[in-house]
Each structure stands twice: as structure tokens, then as C-alpha cells.
Symmetry: D2
Subunit: 342 residues, 4 copies
């Protein structure tokens, strides 16, 4: 079975693993205040050109989303996001469990627009019953989105302007940001300039686990470590996160991994298109969503793992193929060959 | 100004007020365990033909909804309802504040169907990522709905069957149930038979305040008074609720009030239709939603208060007129005359 | 049975009831924005000499405590209070249900001191594991306390200074403030000057229900009505609160009621002392806690209702007698006579 | 600097690290349903002699405590524990953040008794205001406690009987259970028989991270994975936990590590006692709490890291020395030598 079902099927990228092995015997203070964490923080601040930003290393994406949103909102506030946003669909109600409504906006290929945000806020305050409704208190985007699409820099700038107009912190979920940076015109300094908080995901880009939360807005950073502890995110052996991110940020390994993931995905995409499969969504990143005839899907399932995404019609199904840091040329070649044979 | 903006603009129905005045000097134990509360409980159980049901008197609707839902759900569960449901729109996130997602279903004139509930549950458990999603844990209906429409007995029976199939408690918000009983073929014993919990609202039917929660499903009733206290609903002078509901239930005063509200609304509706105003929604209860030319709306606003509901097009607006226990024939006559003159 | 078990056994003071009856037919807007509420707000601001303070009318004490505390705290913060504080003991976990720990301090006759608060905060920030602990985020006092005792102005000033030193909002629960004002040297303007938020309770001083929350600290007042709605405290017929507080504040009726409650209690206290019963706590307000021989307690229980408070030793029990607005001279005379006969 | 400040200063035990390295290239399904997790589950069930128990692997202790307690309690319930319990002191209010009060009982050397639990429950239901108080809904113990002490099997059996009498699930926090098993007469099968849920901690016994939650009470296990996801505990590369626990459970490595930790601690303890230092608490496990003269403390701090625990008097301080899987004979020899020289 060759696995394309997600981008976290294997362990760590060799350079990450090597760093963990090499530092295993060191004795460090716990809870993320060790030298490796401090070094990784400094590296990330420099890459983002935000010398003052808060940087915190968390274990996973749901944890990062929950902690950030709970830290930012007052009790009567909700978080605006695409209806397809991860926090709205796939976190078992983690945001609601902290007391906050997720305010889903209709999404186009996983994305929302500055105009939608502006309209929602205007409508809220125009409504005579505004105090009986959940106040929009934050905006959450995913980059790339859950459908693999990316915002352009112009789109992100427009959203950022709208957020500042309404005094809404802007939060970018970067669980797959390594791939996103490879496929968009947005850079880390852009994110640091336009967002109040965002994270660079490691789990889906070759780390064993780990998400680096960057908080350029220092108001949001205040007392943030209490919140990390409260949400179960303060890893006792915090140095594991520091060590991995040191390696991940060294020589732009994160970019190299992101680019490689995307390049393999583009090879797959070309093969789907050549075969005449329509794409369910136009994704420029490491998730690809071809619409397959059901009998072709069945044939591929014998040798490859991938996700069934959505039933399209009686005879066709949209599926998802994911590439990862460990996807080999051979894996992709095999699949391309098998597609052509179908 | 003649007020049609809602059904809680005035104080209490004379019989309710009289009961409060007559009992004002009595000394009773607090917190709803006095003789008046016990008597009102017994009356309601008899009306519902549920000799065993739990009955609790709460102050308001948001409080009732929050307490019931928080009592019923486990942390990973959400409550299915119409997207237009009160809990989804107009409670400032009260349900989410107790940790639970409101799972909004597309509604038709404020109503949802057994098929929608069944489909949602089926899809949840069919999804490979089911454990990453909020589990449907309860169904919430409003009778009448927020748009004044009512379920038929057949519809409610179908929904009840579906809820039992999926082991979902069925909860009916009866904030305007007095009007709903007057306009549907559903009776209190039907509700007690088909629901796990429902309430008969007093606030919008001539009480100063008060909602009577009936819990035929004794599993949901277990320890319910702790939850009332926790949600701020245990009124110190609880006898105020008992006294009001005794009067409300005596000689079917609640039905009389509901019927009167509806009758006045039907007179208004006939006037709107005669004038040729389309109806935004086809409501058989005490909320009526004519679509007015904007200049007619402006003219009526000089003498009458009513709610702007929705912009329909450049020249027309849907508005809401509400009748209440205190709406007089004269109030309605005046409005009808003024409509005809427009 | 003559009832001394609590101060909310009867309905409303005649002047309050009269105001409700007289205004019953008026049609007002809902949710506390009517003219009566506005007038009562203005009266209270003037009595407090705080022309800018937020004023909100809520139904009950648990609701007031929960709403205020939830509005003030961030998720990692807790509220400091006496271990015997109402929020720590008798609200079924309402504060915890909003996510916050109640940080109980050892109390002396229901009171805590500025030194205790200062010491707790110092210890928190001195602890190496501070970020792993609940941060003190607010101070809650009751005036009078749950044991009937009162803070002096000097004590309250010291606590206020300490709170400002540590940037902790100071919240005074005034469920029995009418009696407290009658028995301490603290005035409403003192409370407005020294606290960030406090309330004047009506339920235990002759209203049907109602607590008037005063928020001199406008940061805490921001968006407060959303929180009221979320916590089920936004009464549809909000004018009921406005009407009652108008009457309560007119000609200092609240002070008159408080003083009368206290005067009757002092008569009882004198009788207990004359009889030689020790007092469990030295209360100058309308709750009195004599320690009775068990056979005397049993004898009195035949004719009077009162609360068993604490077992003192094999033969003696501390009990609580409460006076209220409706306690008559005759009630007290009868009890005094029966005590003397024992 | 030789580190004795805690038992998680270094990385993984060589056998754990080796297992991670050896399996790094495998492609597995995510979220804990891979073969390694299944195998580790089976191993643990066998060690506990509970073929049916639920077994779940979580990342850390706060996460495990929060998830278990939130899964078990209804909203009006709290969790009984020692006042010194980790959940009451060092989790930044994580339990309260899920809505539940921690009901702290006075502890003796970190332990509570069956009698205390029984008395608390009896008093709760005897109180006339029981429904206004937080209902005891679960009992939480730590084994070893936060002070290194252990329950005896007889004590645990008595507590278990009391819990079953009051229908309270019994939850044992085993963050340091490997050391606890080495120092008490309690076995894994005892825990599985007497508790409703407990965990075997890996973080403090040589894993990179990981706690294995065992749930013999299947009612508590129902839908537990939703709760894991909601609390951010569902590790994407879940196999990391399975792989580590496979190694940890193979050939009783966990017992070997626990015994070694304890043996090194006993050598330290003997040195403290020989030197005449009193012990702050009588701990038989890997945490030792000598009371040092302040100048000796200062002298040791130059070469060793350890925790300041409590000020005892002007000249003496209780400190904590922790041994771990990676504490070497040389580390301990050096410290013993330096103690003797003081």
C-alpha cells in the first residue's frame, strides 16, 4: 500500500530525527524555556522580521487553534471563518467547548473574502437585536485552506484591512503553511505584518509533531503561557519542540519540504488532468482532489490509500491525494503509471 | 403609539396580577418548593397526562433553553435545530457558553423535518472522521417557530420517531406555545408523549414572566434542580412562578389567551391580504409578516410600533406585527382602518 | 408558623407592589431600555454620585455574580473570596461553569482582609510555577457577609487599595446591602468610589425580585448587555425591574427597609443575649445566629421556622433567625416572649 | 550542573528512542488506530488483566486529567481530591475551564482517606441546601502523590469501596505510576480492579512524552475519542505513542525504570538522613524532600539543580530532589559526597 491519504503517515524528516537523537541526552529545563526553544524562537522572529513577537511551540493544530481563540475572545464573542474551516468542522467542538460560537461564512473553494467579513460585521451592528447575538470577535483563515487553496497577498491584505477596521484580530491557521508558502505570493514577514497571530505547522511538514505560534500583536501574547498550560499544551519536555523547530528553520528546511510536497502534488495533478479527470477544487498545494469514475477509484484503492472526499454523482467521486515530505519520486511515478493504465 | 412590536410589552393579564396581589402577604418557603408551585406542578402534569413528569418553573426562555440543553448533553455533543432557531441566533451564544455547538439545519419557514435529522445523523456516523466532528446529541424545535409557523402532529410524530431511532432527546421550545396550541393540531398530551422535554411559555402569554418546563423523560430530570441553580434560574421567591402558573392553568386561561392572540392576528392577516400585501411567511399564529411598500411602512410607523424583519427589495420590506393578551379589538380595528386607507 | 427562616418568604413591600399594579397596563419596550429602567438608573447613579456608571437590573444574585465575574475575567483567572463566600459554597458551581476557579481564602466571621489578598498575590507571582497556577483576577466580597457581618469603611478602603495595587477589580455582592448600609459606616458613594462593580439587592429587601448592578469601572461595563443576555438575565418585561427599583429608591425606601430589618434583628439579639445564649457570630445585621440548647431549639421549632446552621456540641446548635421587610413587631414580640419562657 | 529538579530533564530512554528511530519510516494511519497503538493497547490490557478495558494514549498529564474528568462529570458535579492535588494547584484552572469545581480535601502528606470522602458525601446530602452546592461526582487520587507518598493497597481498597457506595468514579493520576508501583504494594491489576479509570505515565519515566489511560469502567469509555479530539489530545502521528508504549511495556521496562528511579532516590535519602537533615515528608519514591540549612542549600545550588519547595523557618528550607531514568550512579555519588562535605 502506497499512502497518499494524508501528510502525516510517516515519522520525522531525517534532519529532524537526527536533531532529536543528537540532543536526547541533554538535560534541559522543562516547559519550553530551554535553550533550544529560545534559539528556535529567535530564528523564527528573524525569519518573520518581528523582533518583538511572542513565539510559542505547541503540540498540535487543534490545541493551537483552541488556545489562541480562547485567549483572544471575550465570552460573548465568536470567531468568523469559512464554513469549511477546520475549527468549524473537524475539531469535535473544541472551540465551543471554550464557550465560543464559530460563525461560519459560506466559502468558495475554502476561502472567504474581506467583503464577507465587512458585511457580516455591518449587519451585526445594524441589527436592532445586536446585543442578543454573538458578536464577531476574531477572524480565522487557513493558509492553505482545508481544500488546498491559497489566499493571494492582495486578498490577505484586504482581509487584514477589514479586520483592523472592525478591530478584529486576524488569526491564520498554518497547519500546512510550509506548502502554502511554496504555492502563494505570501511570505512569513507578510503574515507577521498582516496578522495578529498565525502559526507555522510542523506536523504536516516532516516534524514528529509541533506547531509554532507567532503572535505579533503583543496584547494577545499577554499571559499566553497560562492559557497554554490550561489547554494541556505545555509539554514537559518542551525542548523536543525547540530542537525540531531549530532543525526545521535551519537553511530554510521548512521551505524545501513545502516545495517538495507541492512539486510532487503538481506531478500528480498533471497526470489527473492528462487523463481527463476534472478537479473538484483548483488546489495549487499538496492536496489534490480529482473526480474519479467509481470503477477507477476502486481500482486505485487496491494499491494506494487516499481519502474519499465527496460523492459527485452516481458514477463519480471526488477523492483527495496528499503528498508529504516522505513521498518519493517512485511513489508518484507508480501512481502516474497506474492512472495512465486505467 | 399602539404597540405590535412584540407580545411582552405590557404587564400581566388581570387574572395573573390578581393572583399575585392576593397571595403577596403569604409567607412561603423559597426556591420553588412551596404549595403554589406544587399545585401548579400537579395541574400541569394532569393537563399533560404525565403523572410522573418533572415540572420546573423558570424565569425566561434563554434560561430554560440553556439549562435544558446543558443538562442533556455530554461535552462532545451538539444540538440540532433550524438555522433560524432562537438558540442559534438570538441568545448571544448562551448554548456555546455551556460548551456545546448549535448544529443549524437549513429551515423552511422556520421548520425542519424528520428527514433532515435522519440524514444528518446518518452522514455523521458514515463519515470516516466522525470522532473529529460534533456528535448530534439532541434535537431542538420551536413551536410555534420563530417565524410563527407550526408543526403538524404528523410532522412532530415523524420527528419524534427519528429522534428515538438515533437516541436523541427531543426538546420543544414553547415560548409561544399558548398560541401554538391554538393554531396546530398538537395538544399538551401529544407533546408529553412525543418529546423528552418541552416548555409552556408564560412571558409571551400574559404572565409577568415564567416558563414551565415539563420533562417526561425522567433521565433528563435527574438532578435538574442543581442545573437550575447553576444557571441562575432558581428564583428565591419561587412562589411567584407557582402563583402565576396556577392562575394560567386554571380554567384553561392559557388556551383562552393563546386563542385570543391568534384571533386578533388572523384579523390583521385578513386585512393585509385584502390590501394585497404578500406575506413573507405563512404564519397561523400571533406573529404576522406582511411585506409592505416602504412608504406604507413609513406611514404606519407614525402610529404603530412593529418590527422591521427583512429587506425584500428596493421598495418593499417584510415587517412583523405581534398580537398579545393585551391587544384590544380597538387596537386591531384602528390598524385595519389605517391599512385600508393607505 | 411564624417565619424567620430567610428574608424572602413573603411577596413585595406594599409600595413596590403598588408600583407594579399601577404600571401594569403600560406598554413598554422590552429588555430594560424602557423609561422606568432609565429613570431608576438615573436615580441610582445620583444616589451613588457616579453620573457615568453603568447600571443594569438583573433578576437574582447568582445570575448577577455569574454575569459580573464572567464579564471581568480572562480564562486563566480566578476570583478571590472568603471560603464562606456565596459563590464558593451556594451557587452549585455557577462560577466554575463559566470556566473560572473560585480561590477561597480562610475567613474570619465571613470576612477577609487586605493583607490576605496582598499575600496571596505576592505568593502567586513569587512561585516559580506561577504560570501553572490560576492567576488571581478579581476580588469578591459580600456586604454584609453570609454570616451577617459587615466590613468597616477603613477595611473596605484598605482592600480597595490592595486591589488597585494588583490591578484586581473589586466586586461587592450586595444581596443584603440594604441591611448592610443600615449597619455599617459605608455609603453608596463609598462603594461607587472604592469598587469596580457592586450591586444593591432587592430580593432580600422587599422586592419581588431584582438586583441593581452598578459598574463604576467603565471597562467592565463595556458590552455588558451581551453578557446579561448570554446568562439568561435579560428579562423580556424588563420594566418590572425598573418599576420596582424606582419605588425602592424613592424617598430612600431601601434604607428604611434595611433599617427596619436590622432594628427587628437587634430586638431579637437582645432577647438571645438576655437569655444567656451565646452568639455563633457577632452580626450587626438582619441575620442572627444564637447557639441554642437542643431542647430549646426543638421547642421553638413548633411555632417558628428558622435555619439550623451548625452543630456546636452534643447539646447545642447554632441556628439562624432572619428578619425581613415583612417581619412585624408582633412576630418579634411573640418570639421574645417564647424565648423568655424557655 | 547536575540536574535533580525534575524527572523530565532529558530525552527518551535508549530503548524508547531506538523504537522511534526504527519505526520512523513506516507509513501508518493517523490518530492512534495504527498497529503499534493496537499492540500497545493489547499489552497493557494483558498487564492489567482487563481484556475489555478502554486504553487511550495521550500526550501529557494535564491533558489526561482534563479529558478524563470532563468525560465523566455532569455540569453540576465536582471532583474530590487532596488540596495538594495536581488538578487543584498546578494546571492553571484546566478543570474549572471545563466547567467543574475541584473540591479540595485537607491532605496528610498528599493523601486523603476513605473516611474523608465518605464524610464529605454524607454532609453534602444531609445539607438542606444540597441542590445549591456542587455535587461530588468523582474522586481523584495521585499515585504517587505530588509529595511522593503512596497509598497502600488497603487504603486504596477502602477508598474504592467508599466510591462505589456513593457511585463516584475513582480516577487515579499515575503520572509517576512507574515509581509508585516500585514503592507500594499495589499492582496494575489492583488498579484495574479498584479504579474506574487510571493512567500509567510515560513522560516522567523515560518516554519523550505520553500517558496511557486505562478505563476499566466501560461507561466512562463510551465516546471517549471525541473527548480526546476536543481537548487537543488526538496526536496526528499517534503511532509515536504506540511505538513508545510498546517499548515501555516490553519486558517490564516501565517497572525497571521505576525501580531504578526509586533506588537512586533511596540512596539520596539515606545520605540526607545520615547527615541529619529532617525530611519534609516521608516519601518512598523518586521525589525526596530534605529540609536543608539555608547555607547548605546555597552551597548545593552551585553544582546541582533542585526545586525550592517550602520555607520552613528563618534558617531552613524544604527542597525537592528528583531522580529519573537518566540519573546515573555518578550523579548520585557526586551529590552524596558533596552532602557529606557540607
Amino acid at each position: 500500500m502506497i499512502r497518499f491519504e494524508c501528510d502525516y503517515t510517516t515519522g520525522a524528516h531525517p534532519k529532524i530525527l537526527e536533531a532529536l537523537v543528537n540532543t536526547n541526552g541533554e538535560a534541559c529545563p522543562g516547559y519550553g524555556v530551554d535553550g533550544h526553544c529560545e534559539h528556535a524562537r529567535a530564528m523564527l522572529r528573524e525569519l518573520c522580521q518581528t523582533p518583538e513577537a511572542g513565539v510559542h511551540f505547541l503540540v498540535g493544530g487543534t490545541q493551537a487553534n483552541t488556545t489562541v481563540i480562547a485567549a483572544a475572545l471575550r465570552p460573548h464573542q465568536g470567531v468568523l471563518c469559512a464554513e469549511t474551516g477546520h475549527i468549524n468542522v473537524h475539531e469535535s467542538g473544541a472551540i465551543e467547548a471554550t464557550g465560543h460560537k464559530v460563525l461560519g461564512l459560506p466559502a468558495c473553494e475554502g476561502k472567504i473574502t474581506a467583503e464577507q467579513i465587512d458585511g457580516y460585521c455591518q449587519a451585526h451592528y445594524d441589527d436592532a437585536a445586536w446585543e442578543h447575538m454573538v458578536q464577531p470577535g476574531m477572524v480565522y483563515l487557513s493558509l492553505p485552506t482545508e481544500l488546498g487553496t491559497v489566499y493571494t497577498l492582495a486578498e490577505l491584505e484586504a482581509i487584514s484591512r477589514t479586520c483592523r477596521k472592525w478591530k478584529l484580530p486576524l488569526f491564520v491557521d498554518g497547519a500546512r503553511l510550509a506548502a502554502g508558502l511554496a504555492a502563494s505570493d505570501i511570505t512569513l514577514p507578510d503574515l507577521a505584518r498582516l496578522c495578529d497571530v498565525f502559526y507555522l505547522g510542523g506536523t504536516k511538514a516532516g516534524l514528529l509533531f509541533g506547531e509554532a505560534v507567532v503572535i505579533p500583536n503583543l496584547n494577545l501574547d499577554f499571559d499566553f503561557r497560562y492559557l497554554i498550560k490550561q489547554h494541556g499544551g505545555m509539554l514537559a519536555k518542551g525542548r523536543l519542540l525547540g530542537v525540531q523547530f531549530e532543525a526545521f528553520l535551519t537553511d530554510d528546511l521548512f521551505l524545501e519540504i513545502g516545495r517538495k510536497e507541492v512539486a510532487q502534488a503538481m506531478r500528480l495533478r498533471a497526470a489527473f488532468e492528462k487523463k481527463g479527470y476534472p478537479l473538484f477544487v483548483n488546489s495549487p498545494t499538496n492536496q489534490q482532489f480529482p473526480i474519479l469514475p467509481n470503477e477507477h477509484m476502486a481500482a486505485l484503492e487496491e494499491k494506494y490509500s487516499f481519502e474519499v472526499w465527496a460523492r459527485v454523482d452516481e458514477g463519480h467521486t471526488a477523492v483527495r491525494f496528499c503528498t508529504s515530505w516522505s513521498t518519493t519520486d517512485g511513489d508518484v511515478d507508480a501512481l502516474i503509471t497506474d492512472i495512465q493504465k486505467l
